[in-house]
């Protein structure tokens, strides 16, 4: 499988603290890869390096023959193809759901108002939010907000989605709707790199799982492989109730 995202020898330090150490990871087309591991192991940092919200210290991240970390890479252009979904949704509170989705379509992709609106409505519709176009984030439930955020990313036509604990901030009864949206994205062939503590979902939906500890990927494989590995730390982690 051709990798869409190919992370090579990636290091990241904050001051003296080395937070990522020699990370190597390939995410193939249409694959759903989960990053799991204890708190502080570097999962979010790794994800944020993939669209350069954090600047890695060294290494390479290849996406479709472009090294995202190269000095001459137009990162704003690449970011349209790398969707990101945050734990706290980060919707723009002063804009309606529709305007949230339209902003980058208009400003970055230069689409007309009408075209942007059409795309926004289609993506929101796909997320089951047809009745919510004109709602402000404060008028939506957490689950709905996260689905607006997903629509905002998908509208730009990304090749890969980075998702950092997309369900952690949600009330338990709202988690299902977001997981369902992720299943549908996967079924539609979207490539996804997901940080999550939803271990049941990871066991069911992940193609590959990378288990991180202290800034390194210490175990990597299919959920079945990790669960079968005697004495592995990932096994205890992945087998957990959640």
């Amino acid at each position: 499988m051709r990798p869409i995202l190919d992370i090579q020898a990636l290091y990241k330090s904050f001051g003296d603290a080395e937070v990522l150490k020699n990370i190597n990871l390939k995410v193939g087309e249409g694959e759903m890869v989960f990053l799991i591991g204890p708190s502080g192991s570097g999962k979010s940092t790794l994800l944020r390096c993939c669209n350069r919200l954090e600047e890695p210290t060294s290494g390479a991240i290849w996406m479709d023959n472009t090294n995202l970390l190269a000095g001459d890479t137009d990162i704003n252009r690449m970011r349209q193809r790398i969707g990101m979904v945050f734990q706290g949704f980060n919707l723009y509170p002063h804009m309606t759901a529709e305007q949230n989705v339209m902003l980058a379509l208009r400003r970055v992709q230069g689409k007309s108002e009408a075209e942007a609106r059409e795309i926004a409505r289609r993506e929101l519709d796909r997320m089951g939010l047809a009745e919510r176009f004109g709602h402000y984030p404060s008028q939506l439930s957490g689950g709905q907000q996260q689905r607006v955020a997903i629509a905002r990313s998908l509208a730009l036509g990304p090749r890969v989605m980075l998702m950092d604990e997309p369900t952690s901030a949600l009330d338990p009864e709202l988690v299902g709707g977001v997981l369902e949206a992720m299943r549908e994205m996967k079924a539609a062939g979207m490539t996804m790199l997901v940080v999550s503590h939803e271990m049941r979902f990871a066991r069911e939906a992940a193609d590959r799982v990378a288990f991180m500890q202290a800034g390194e990927i210490v175990e990597y494989g299919t959920p079945a492989e990790l669960l079968a590995r005697e004495g592995g730390r990932a096994r205890a982690f992945l087998g957990g109730e959640h």
């Binding site: 919200l53 945050f86 723009y92 992709q109």
Partner: protein, 222 residues
């Protein structure tokens, strides 16, 4: 008691002085209309400079802003007015006042906008950047509208302070409201024009003061 009324509330004198004071109010309004956008623009630039990546620039901006916050505006007006001719600039008093109050008000607008920018969660900028918006675009469309909304009452208060501050221009002979009123007073040996000027300031500013109160209540409610 009668003497007091005669000295401060002489309607005849007020009626005579009214056309002059109206001209003065015009200059006060002109100064306001000029200084508010200028002050906001420079204040925003300084607020952004306060969080610039370049350390030297950041320092310089902080020294600049603190300096102009620390100087009494009247002192600043006199310094600018008396210093400019030495720089070979023949500037009318109005110009000197605009420069001095611009330096003063922008420093305060800067502090307010800085607080506003700081009140917007970092995740807003990140979400915008993650969809490919440049820093300037993200600021304009995502961060600034929220920042301004969060400090709107303070911006309004500062603008009111600015309007009141324009009365200092009378000291160097700018024909704004207070200056016209004191001129009238010294002509008629009666303080009623000053009373009238006070009423005109109130008429001009009271709606804004009430608006500020309303904005403040709305912010607390939100």
């Amino acid at each position: 008691m009668n003497a007091l009324i005669e000295q401060f509330f002489n309607l005849e004198v007020m009626a005579q002085a009214f056309p002059f004071l109206l001209k003065g109010l015009g200059v006060t309004i002109l100064l306001t209309l000029l200084l508010t956008p200028l002050g906001l623009a420079l204040g925003l630039a300084l607020a952004l400079g306060s969080s610039a990546r370049h350390r030297g620039l950041r320092r310089a901006v902080r020294i600049w802003v603190n300096g102009f916050r620390g100087l009494p505006p009247l002192v600043l007006i006199i310094i600018v007015y008396s210093a400019l001719p030495f720089l070979g600039l023949r500037t009318p008093p109005l110009m000197a006042v605009v420069i001095a109050l611009w330096l003063n008000s922008s420093a305060y607008y800067c502090e307010i906008l800085r607080a506003g920018l700081g009140s917007v969660p970092a995740g807003q900028m990140e979400a915008a950047r993650a969809t490919g918006l440049g820093r300037a675009q993200a600021l304009r469309d995502v961060v600034l509208p929220q920042a301004v909304r969060n400090v709107l009452p303070d911006l309004a208060s500062n603008t009111i302070e600015l309007v009141k501050g324009t009365s200092l221009a009378s000291i160097i002979g700018v024909s704004e409201l207070l200056h016209m009123a004191s001129n009238a007073r010294s002509v008629v040996y009666n303080a009623s024009p000053i009373t009238l000027a006070a009423l005109m300031y109130l008429a001009f500013l009271l709606p804004s003061v009430r608006l500020t109160g309303w904005l403040e209540r709305r912010r607390r409610g939100a």
